[in-house]
Structure formats: C-alpha cells, structure tokens
Symmetry: D2
Subunit: 312 residues, 4 copies
C-alpha cells in the first residue's frame, strides 16, 4: 500500500524543507548530461527530494513528483531481480569490488578475463541484464513490472526517444559487450542485449516513484506487498555493493560524505537507503565531473548530518 | 578505564564462543605471510577474537591476549592521529577512493600525479606517515603513545626485528616513496620516512589491545579517557574509508560479507567497528591470496550474521 | 613480367637450399594457430621460402608454391593501397609507433582517444580498411586486384570458409571497431567493416605470390608493370613501419635478429624486404607465443646472416 | 687516427651546408629542457652537425665543435661496453622491444616482473649501468675512457654540476631502481648506481666527438684503433635496438622520417649511423614534446632525403 502525502506531520519533512531551502542558495550546480538531447534539455537548477517510510508513506519537497530519466539507478533493480532468480551464481560472472580509476575499465576487463568488477559499472550492468534476459526473455519488461508494482504507479514507462538516443551513441557499450562476449561472458546476441539495456536505462520516474521502489532494500528484502524478493542476507549484500560501488569513481567520497548505500544516474537522480528506517530519492540534473548530481549529493550529505542517520 | 574480564555474563561472549567452536572445524585456513621470518613462523591455525564494549569492557575467546604483528592495522590509527591534527587538508595529498585492481597501483599513482587513491594502500599510508612526521617529528612515537593510552597496556611496543626485516625487503616501498617525492607529495627524506613507516608496521599487540584502541571509532571520536580525538563527522569519515578501502582489493567482498568498517593486516589481524555499539579484533595468521586472514573474515562474517549487527 | 624458375643459376638459391636443409633439423617448431579450423589443420613442419628479384624472377625451396592463409600479411598491401590514395592524411587517424605490451592495447586506444598506435595492430588495420573502403567502396576487391596483378596469379582469391570462421570469432575485433567508432575514428558501419576486414585476412596465396606482390617495396614504390604505386619516400616509410611494427610485440626482436622490414601473419607466413635488392616470403605454420612463425623467423635470421643483407 | 678538417672537398659537406642554411629558416625550434639549469640556459637556436667517415675523418657545420650535454646518447656506449663484456646474458635482464606509451612504463615494469622493455628507456639504462658497474667497478670511468679514445679528445669529461642537478631531481630514477631491485634485477645498492648513472649522463661532448665515438657502429664493431669492440652481429643488433627504441616514444616516427638507427638526448643531441658508410651527430637544444631535438630530427630527415642514405 502506498500512502501519498505532504502533510508536515511526517517525520523527516522539516529536515527536507530545510534542505530544500539551503539548496536554493547553493552556487554552482554542475552541468546536465549533454550526450542525450532529452537530458541536456533539463534545467540544472531543478530540485526534488522524497522520503519513503517503511510502510509506504512517501512525501517530499520541490519537484519530487516530476518524472526524470532514471538511467543507471535502474541497475539496482535489475541486479536485485537477477539475484533473486539465480542467487550467488551471478557472482561468477560479475565481481563486487570497486572499479578504481575509470580510465582503466577496459584494461581491467582484459586483465580479469572479461569479468567486470561490479554490477554498477556499465560492463557489469550489461552482464546482469544479459543474465536476466536469458532467464526471463524480457529483462526490461520484468524491470518495468517490478517498478510499477513497488511504486504503485501503473503509468511508469520507458522513454523510447531517450533509448533511441542512447542507441545512437551506443558504440562504447557495444564495444564492452563484444569484448566480454569474446571471453564467453555474454549469452545473448549483442544487438538484443543492447536494446534491452538501453530501454531499461530510459525508464522515466519521479523521486516518489523511485524512493518507493527502493523500499525493499530498507525492509531487508520485503516488497511493498509483503512478499519477499531477496533474503535478508541478499538485501544486506545489495546495500553493501551500493555503498562501495554505487556512485562511479566517487563511491569512497560518497561513503565519506553521505555514509549511506546509494546509486546515482546521469539523469541527475540518486537513491539512498537507511536500512531498517527509510529510503530517499533526490533529483537535480546538474552533474559533477564524475557524473553524480552536485546538488543531490549535497542534499544527502545534509540529510545524514542533520538526522545522524548515516550507517557509520 | 579498561575492564578486563572473561565472565560469561558479557553480551557477545556466547556468540564469540560459538564462532570459536565453528572456526575449529573450518578447513583451509590459508598461509601465513612468508616474506618476514617472524610472520612466517606463526601457526596458521592460531585464532583469537575480542570484543570491546563502549565502556572499555573487553573480553574474548581463543588467543585473544596473544600479541601479534599489527602491520597495516596501524594505518587506521596513524590516519586518525594525522586527521585530528591537520583536518581536511590531508585530503589534498591522499584520496579516499578504493584503489581497484592492485596490479595498477603504480599506473594510478602516475595517472593521478602522485596522489595515492586512499590512506590504506601502502602509497597512501606513506603519505599519512610523512605528514604526521612533519607535524610531530616522531610519527611512530605518537602512534605508540596513543595505542598504549587507549589499550591501557603500557608494555605495547614495536618489534625492531620485524622492522629490520621489513627494511631489508623495503625496495617496493622505497620506490613508491621516491615516486611520490618526484611529484612533490613527500616532505621528509625517504630513508627517514621508511624508518618511521616500518617501525609503525612492526607494532605488536593482542586482540584485546587493538579492540580497545579502536574504541574511539565506535564512540564517534571519543577516546578512552573521555577526551575527543576526532569530531563526530571525522569518526564517521574514518569508518567510511575503512569500509570502502580497509581490506586491500577485497573491500567490496568484505562489505558484502561482513558489512562493517574493518581494517586488516598481513600479520593476520582484522579490526572492525560497530558504530555506537562495540569494536572487534580477530586474529588468525593464515591469509587468502588478497592478504586478508581467511579465518578472520569468516569469523566476522559469522558475527554479523549471528548478531544482525551489520551496518546494512 | 613474372619469371617463374627454379634453376640453380639464380643468385640466392644456394643460400635458400642451405637454409631449407638446416630448418629440417631444427627442433621445436611451435604450434599452428588453433582458433580457425583451416589454420589448425596445417602441419607445423611445413616449410617453404621464396625470393623475388627486382625484375620479377622468383624461385624458392620447399613448399614455396603451396597456398596458405596470408592473414595479417595483407595489412601491408592495404596500407600501401590507402596511402597511395590519401597520403599523409591517413596518419591523423592511425599512428606509426610500436604498440608496446599487447596487454594494454585497449588502454592505449583509450588513452590516445581512439587513434591506434600503428597500422599493423588489429585496431590500426581496421582503421586502414575502413578508410580504403570509404575511398573505393570495396577495400577487399581492391586488395585482390592488386595482389593478382603483382603476383601474375589470376587465381588468387579469398577463402570464404576462413572468413566465416573469423567472423564467428570476431567479437574482439567488433569491440575494437565499436570502441574506435565511439571516438569518431570509424566511418563505415561496423558489420560492413568487419566483413571487408575478415575477407581480406582470408586471402590465400603462396610464398611465390607474396614475395612477388611485395616487390614494389624493394623497387622504391614501382609496381611490377613499371607503374608507380607509392612515391620513393612513401615506400621508405612503409618499410620503416614494417621494421618497427611488423611482427606484433616482437618487432624489436625481429629487427635485432633479422634486421629487415618484415610482416608476419598467424597463418605462418612472413614477408621481408631488402630495399633495392629483393623480397622474400617464408612460410611455416608453427607459431611462437607472440604469433610469429618460429621456423620463418629462424630462416630469415639465417638468410641475413649468410648473405649480410640486413639493413644494419 | 682522427682527421679534423672542414675543407669542402669532403663528400657530405655540401649537403651539410645546405641543411644548415635551410635550418636557419625553420620556424619553431622547440624548448630546451628546463629541469636542469645548465640545459635550460642553452639557446634553442644553436645548431651544429658533424659527419664522421669510416676512416675517422670528421667535418661539420655550425657549432659542430661546441660541447653540449650528451645525456641519453651515452646509453648507446654503455650498452655496447656491457654487451662486449657479457654478451647475450644481458638480454635476460633487459628486453629489446619498444616501450610503447610512456605513461605506462611503470605498469609494464610491474607486468614484466622488473625487466625493462629495452636498454634506452631509463629503467633499462639503469640495468645496463648496474651490470657494467658490477663487471668493472666503475661504469662511468669505463665510459669516459672509451669516449676519449674513440673521439681522440682527451679533454672529454663529466660535468659534475649537471650530475648534481640530476641527483637533486632524481626521485623518479630512484623509484625505478628500487622497484627493479624489488624484483632482484639490480645488483648494486641504489645510491651507488644512481651516482654512476647521473655522472654518465652528464658527459659533455661536441658533435665531432660523438660522431667519431659512434664510428664503431658503422664499422660493424671495429674501434677507431682497429681493435674490435663488438662482433659484426652485435654491432648490427645495437643498430637495430637504436632504430626501434632510440628516440623515446617517437622511434616509429624517427624510422619513418629519417630511416637510420639513431639515439637522442635531452641535451638536444642526436647520433645516427649509416652502416658501412658514416656516422652523424646533430645538436640543437630545442626539444619537441617527446624530448627529441626539433631541428636535429629535421636536419637528419633532410640528410637522408638529400643523400638517399636511409637504410630503407
């Protein structure tokens, strides 16, 4: 059950309002991603932030109900959906170590025989999508069904224009997929895989939707309807991978500043988990040089500082 | 105040006893580090584990009062001692991102102009020691004073024979130090720095000593005597760096399995922090191929599984 | 005009006969390439060697008229054909420096923004084929026409079964092509390019054919019919690139031992140029760990030692 | 016997004069090396060029008798002196392949277990000096004796001020030496080795001196006094290593443009060999971004174009 509300009686609303106020006065909000027209058109000053309680109550500030391009945030859900199906066998095909410097992602793939370092770098997400596709025949469809159910928003959908833009700029992901295929670490044919992958990235959702959809990670694996997606141990493990690998080459910095499991996307969104307590989603399209939302990270930093809710 | 006790009334003692029992039956305990005679002589089947409560109560199982070579575990304390003195300026000289694949540590140093990725890889620890040396004139002495005070054990000391062995095998660390010096990121002359560094690594202490000495990280920065070493924010930050970078190239795996900030050493010890609750130290000299104690990681894995005390 | 002869009056025939005799007694001839069935089926003990004089006289020993798979040897001809058309502009899209260690070919491509180090590594050959394809609409056809004309052998042709095998194992080349395309350094669509490239590699020719076809590099750019393909300066330049980059990661060793511009292929063939004097082609399918014919290199080493014809 | 002359009856003098004239009108001559005061003080417009005939006749144009800092040019002589003593065993400690991209010199050393790629990168030259030092007890002294004898100039000497500057900036070479020592590929203690190495680099000599001293490589191993330093095969091999590795990461470009075995130094000098015919030395302190003399390379390019004396 999803309870939509903005009443000020809700626990973190005063904190969110204070953060929204502060963020209005923060100079320099980075630049929106420019390789996809739909992303480049976003106003970098946009800002929304939502909290979802464990019981499905969700509330927020700013543009917290405005849909945006989820992009790499979807990798968390695809990971969970595949892990729920195949369990630890997945970890023979993708690692769970931080990737270090981005410039050597390819040499690491080569050095490690086509096994990507973790499921959140592009190479690793391609492997996860490939495996979910093999198991379900429609990885993107599975993702969409899951997100609609968890968010209670049946209108969630892919943005096929964004997916087409990604495909038109898809040579680097095609290179990664073919490279891993040369090591036998991709099952599906590369064009099929890329189609699934780019559709998945194009998902459009709001802070409210994504905070709700992330709830199972705060509920130790339990879905919105009370069913179990992941074991308690698996939920902990996904949180651990988010903390160590969720924000590209800034995972250490994110852990240092925010201290929560989180996952960012180039659309400017970031989801974060306070295990056993709540989930958050923040959105602001201006990115820093490592691809994370400048204002998003700052807002989460303030949240854990003001509430003391860091895991550390 | 330090309270030494083994009475079974203490909270985690039954868990520790169960773990000790289980660990006796675990096959394959890895190999002790062999590049230093004093380490190679250790029996890989040795095992000890201690918990220190926030109030200084400490208790344990197995060889929890047997001194061993702390090695890289000391990097946590040196980091805290320097951070307490110079604050965020330190982060201009060393990063806080995981280092990725160990094979490219040197090329990363080159690519990033002599700034090591984090304070727990050797290059980063050399920078931290160099800076503490510049500020105090005796980095190793400061470390020893701190550890004696926190553990309440005035007999703690360096093992100069171990330090001499390290020096005799010190070409790689000398290479790192000179390389960073070529970028202007080392202040002291290299032989002085290496002497300080190798002495620090040679510290000999027991699980009890090290669990107690780590207490300030569970107490949000407060020392055993009630004084403050780090701000609350700094304590959280050190924990975050431990979680993302504390176990060499297995930090992701450690976070996934154990889910606590931790730091290992090639002597076979590992310290871990449950923020706001307690600290742990486990020791067993058999190492896996990434340099972490096989039984040590397994024991901590069991601890968080049995107690549910993971940060995730 | 091509003169086919085996009469012993020809200048280097005694030397060739002595080499053939010696090679029969050489132990350990390496292993034939095994990723393509047609190559794996070759007997590693096969051996042929031909010399082509400047006037088109050709003679040889052993299986010098036995067709084999030319593979990367064709890269020399494609380079010459494209260089003849576009001149120095080519060098803005591919370098002419040795590539160093093979393990980092991809990171070098990344570091150098999609510009391959030289035209003889796979990435560089893909760029050359891409450019020749853009200029002619049929790169492989141009190559075939040229080789038939220079060798006087109208029966030369591609082996489409070999090309199909290459395509089936083509993921790594597809990765390279897409990766360079992501930097804008590939004009044609990737499947078209790979089809052209793999057909070209599948060319089947004998030592006699290839020694004759290489003649223009010994004649300072003049083709068999007296027409000019390359300027004198360009012919010198192609020879220089062959010497520094023609034998994968063994170019230094080849220069050291043989001292001639040369180009090898995984089919076991090697062509070599004595500028102003003659050309050679040797074939023996057993390869060393760097992909060069063991007996082929040894035979050329003996040739330059016995004749003093090294360029040094 | 050394014959010093400038009479215009000598074979290449008209060519040299034409080149000197052309070089006066070449814009943009690069920048002198600036990390050593003595080098930074050089006028980048200085220019000298000398040819030494096989019989010891030497003549030149411009500042061909002006001493300059030989720097890495000396690596050729140290290589020859060590190779003459230990023969092929040297190649078990240093390779003879081009090093590829300079940025990964350290990772290559790591990947190849402390064996440098070739004797002309700094790591390789340190190994050669180390081995000559072990065999002679005074590598730099051996070098000086050899150069004085070959040039007929008893006044040749090291510039200890330059050597001291190198030592003061020597951290990177110290890092390389310690790193190789960690693999057991350095015999002498590092400070002793660096002292020998930096003295050797500081040798001051003129174009005339260095062209004469290089003569043994054009005479297939025969010294100025008719004695043999290297076997014919070894002389060919040194020339091959110069051609493939002699000009840092521009060896391919140098082979392409000049087409002669050559070795450059950051002092702005370049030596080159026309096997069996003559040797050259050119000097002009302005360097390109890869550390080679801009005008020096241009002058040698013109020389081989005007005379047709390229090895290709």
């Amino acid at each position: 059950m999803v309870i939509m509300t903005t009443t000020s009686s809700l626990a973190f609303l005063p904190v969110l309002e204070r953060i929204a106020e502060e963020m209005q006065h923060t100079p320099g909000r980075g630049r929106a991603a420019d390789y996809i027209p739909a992303l480049a058109a976003c106003d970098p000053r946009s800002f929304g932030m939502a909290v979802a309680e464990l019981d499905g109550t969700v509330y927020g500030v700013g543009e917290w109900r405005q849909p945006f391009s989820a992009q790499s945030i979807t990798k968390v859900f695809t990971l969970a959906l595949d892990l729920a199906r195949e369990g630890d066998e997945l970890w023979e095909h993708v690692g769970r170590e931080p990737s270090g410097n981005p410039f050597n992602s390819l040499v690491q793939l080569e050095y490690e025989n086509g096994i990507p370092r973790n499921p959140f770098i592009n190479a690793g997400a391609l492997v996860v999508t490939d495996r979910l596709q093999t198991r379900t025949g429609d990885a993107a469809g599975q993702l969409l069904d899951f997100l609609r159910a968890e968010s209670g928003n049946a209108d969630l959908d892919f943005d096929l224009e964004v997916a087409a833009s990604e495909t038109a700029h898809g040579d680097r992901n095609a290179a990664l997929a073919h490279f891993m295929a040369s090591y036998g670490n991709i099952d599906n044919d590369v064009p099929t895989l890329l189609d699934q992958y780019f559709r998945q990235c194009s998902l459009t959702a709001s802070c409210a939707d994504l905070a709700l959809a992330t709830g199972f990670l705060a509920r130790h694996g339990i879905r919105a309807d009370g069913g179990r997606l992941l074991t308690r141990s698996q939920a902990k493990q996904v949180n651990a991978v988010m903390l160590t690998c969720g924000t590209y080459d800034a995972a250490g910095d994110f852990a240092y500043r925010v201290g929560l499991p989180g996952k960012s996307g180039v659309g400017g969104g970031i989801i974060a988990v306070v295990p056993g307590r709540c989930t958050l989603c923040v959105w602001s399209p201006g990115l820093d040089e490592r691809g994370n939302s400048v204002t998003g990270v700052a807002a989460l930093d303030r949240f854990t500082t003001l509430t003391g809710l860091s895991v550390f």
